[in-house]
């Protein structure tokens, strides 16, 4: 079986500079993610989910263990990330924000317009981000991630700053784009229902130290209905794993 992401015995400890006290953020995390699979990390604050995402994005380095990102053809996999806040360059237009990511990845500029169209922003290419609503800004962030044609997309609580109605629309948009262009995904979220709706597999994290305490497979075919009863049952099982 091929693997897109493999973590072996990953650990990370932070030391607070003001007190000198060390805290284990993650201890001995081992997991494998298949190509095209979307895995959700759920758990309470302080369980190291975002730290683990940052280690996979190489924004930080692990103290122990190894993080491997692989591609079937042996090339270096291309990575994209959708953050909790859109992190757009407010002085550049919507199209320019997406185009900059495309340029950096060597993707032709002609792909920018289809990427904006895929997230429902075809008419907003010339707008500056401050002219958009929170949901539209996050759509731009999704378009920026999709346009680079990534092998792996890391989603760091991408919908948590939005109202539920907007978040629901964006989750559907994400599901549609994933169907058009499949990619491996890792989703960090506090929302277990969101995890059940989007993911193929849900890993539950416990805190202090951050570690995996449970795993749940979501064997519901796509496209999924956010009001599907089976999602609620999975959501309840995950909550039990988390001790709620």
């Amino acid at each position: 079986m091929s693997v897109a992401v493999r973590l072996t015995g990953v650990g990370k400890t932070f030391t607070r500079p003001e007190t000198g006290v060390s805290e284990i953020a993650l201890r001995d995390i081992s997991l494998s993610i298949e190509p095209g699979e979307l895995v959700a990390f759920v758990g309470p604050s302080g369980s190291g989910k975002t730290t683990l995402l940052n280690l996979i994005a190489r924004l930080q380095l692990p103290d122990t263990g190894a993080v491997e990102l692989t591609r079937a053809d042996g090339a270096v996999p291309r990575l994209a990330m959708v953050f909790q806040q859109p992190r757009l360059l407010e002085w550049r237009t919507v199209a320019e924000n997406v185009r900059l990511a495309a340029d950096a990845a060597g993707i032709p500029r002609e792909r920018v317009a289809p990427a904006l169209e895929a997230v429902g922003l075809a008419a907003y290419g010339g707008a500056f981000p401050l002219m958009l609503s929170g949901g539209q800004r996050q759509r731009v962030a999704l378009a920026r991630a999709f346009v680079v044609e990534p092998d792996i997309i890391l989603f760091d609580e991408p919908f948590s700053a939005l109202d539920e109605l907007t978040a629901r629309t964006l989750r559907s948009a994400m599901q549609t784009v994933r169907a058009i262009r499949p990619h491996t995904g890792i989703l960090v979220t506090h929302n277990t229902l969101e995890a059940a709706f989007l993911a193929d597999r849900i890993l539950s994290f416990g805190a202090h130290p951050g570690r995996i305490v449970g795993e749940e497979r979501v064997a519901i075919p796509r496209p999924r209905d956010p009001d599907d009863e089976r999602l609620f049952r999975i959501h309840q099982r995950v909550l039990r794993e988390l001790g709620v």
Partner: protein
């Protein structure tokens, strides 16, 4: 509709500063009329002196000499400030190393730099350039350092994740993020440069607005002093409204577009 908005915007932009100038002129003329003193010439006398320097053909070359020195000194100041401000903003160690020098530079009066440069460089062009650069660079560097510290680390992280190249980082992230600080530093630096260039020209040059001010002062011609000051003021107003504010509008158009 657009024409109406444009006319209204123009009025709101032009009328207040014009009103201020008219008010100052009226107050000055009233004072001059009441005091009847040669030390406080009226607007007609100042206008006459201004017309005299304009007609004598001195106005443009003298102002051009001063402007040229300020431009060269300011360019050196800005280059130094960028070279100092960027590391100061990026690295706490560099900040701790450079901050005392910048604070000392800020507290040294322009007069001291002017005197020192006259002693060091005599009447050469290096004199005004170095004096302007030493006076203006610390203030600009500190402003740039503050701007660098305020660049959103989340954006830097985003640029890292999406593998932005050095050119894209500089052109699309750093420069626009720093633009307000560069502009406010430039504005402050220019105001310091004007002050020090006049001093340098008074003490150590044989041309320029400062030299002419000194000559007018020596002959106790207050109207001429004011006429040169006025000419200087007009140049600064052109720079402020014609260059600095145009740059500012361009750098912040994305912010204004959100209010439309």
């Amino acid at each position: 509709m657009t024409a109406v908005i444009d006319a209204r915007a123009f009025r709101s932009a032009v009328v207040p500063p014009l009103a201020c100038i008219v008010l100052v002129a009226v107050a000055w003329q009233t004072m001059a009329s009441l005091l009847h003193s040669p030390l406080l010439p009226g607007l007609t006398e100042i206008g006459g002196a201004f017309a005299h320097i304009a007609a004598s053909g001195m106005l443009v070359p003298q102002i051009a000499a001063t402007l040229g020195r300020v431009a060269l000194g300011f360019a050196l100041a800005f280059a130094l400030a960028v070279a100092i401000g960027l590391p100061m903003g990026r690295s706490p160690r560099a900040r701790r190393f450079l901050e005392p020098a910048m604070l000392i530079g800020l507290t040294v009066p322009g007069l001291v730099w002017a005197l020192l440069c006259v002693i060091w460089f005599g009447v050469s062009l290096a004199n005004p350039i170095v004096a302007v650069a030493l006076s203006a660079a610390p203030a600009i560097a500190i402003t740039i350092a503050q701007g660098v510290r305020n660049v959103d680390p989340d954006l830097l992280e985003m640029a890292h994740v999406f593998h932005f190249g050095p050119l894209a980082r500089a052109r699309d992230l750093w420069l626009p993020a720093l633009a307000p600080y560069l502009l406010s530093g430039a504005r402050f630096g220019l105001s310091l440069a004007w002050k020090v260039i006049v001093l340098v020209e008074i003490f150590g040059m044989s041309s320029g607005v400062g030299y002419q001010l000194n000559a007018a002062f020596s002959s106790q011609n207050v109207a001429l002093v004011l006429a040169w000051t006025l000419a200087f003021g007009v140049v600064m107003a052109v720079l402020e409204y014609g260059v600095m504010q145009a740059l500012e509008r361009r750098a912040t158009r994305w912010r204004r577009s959100a209010r439309v």
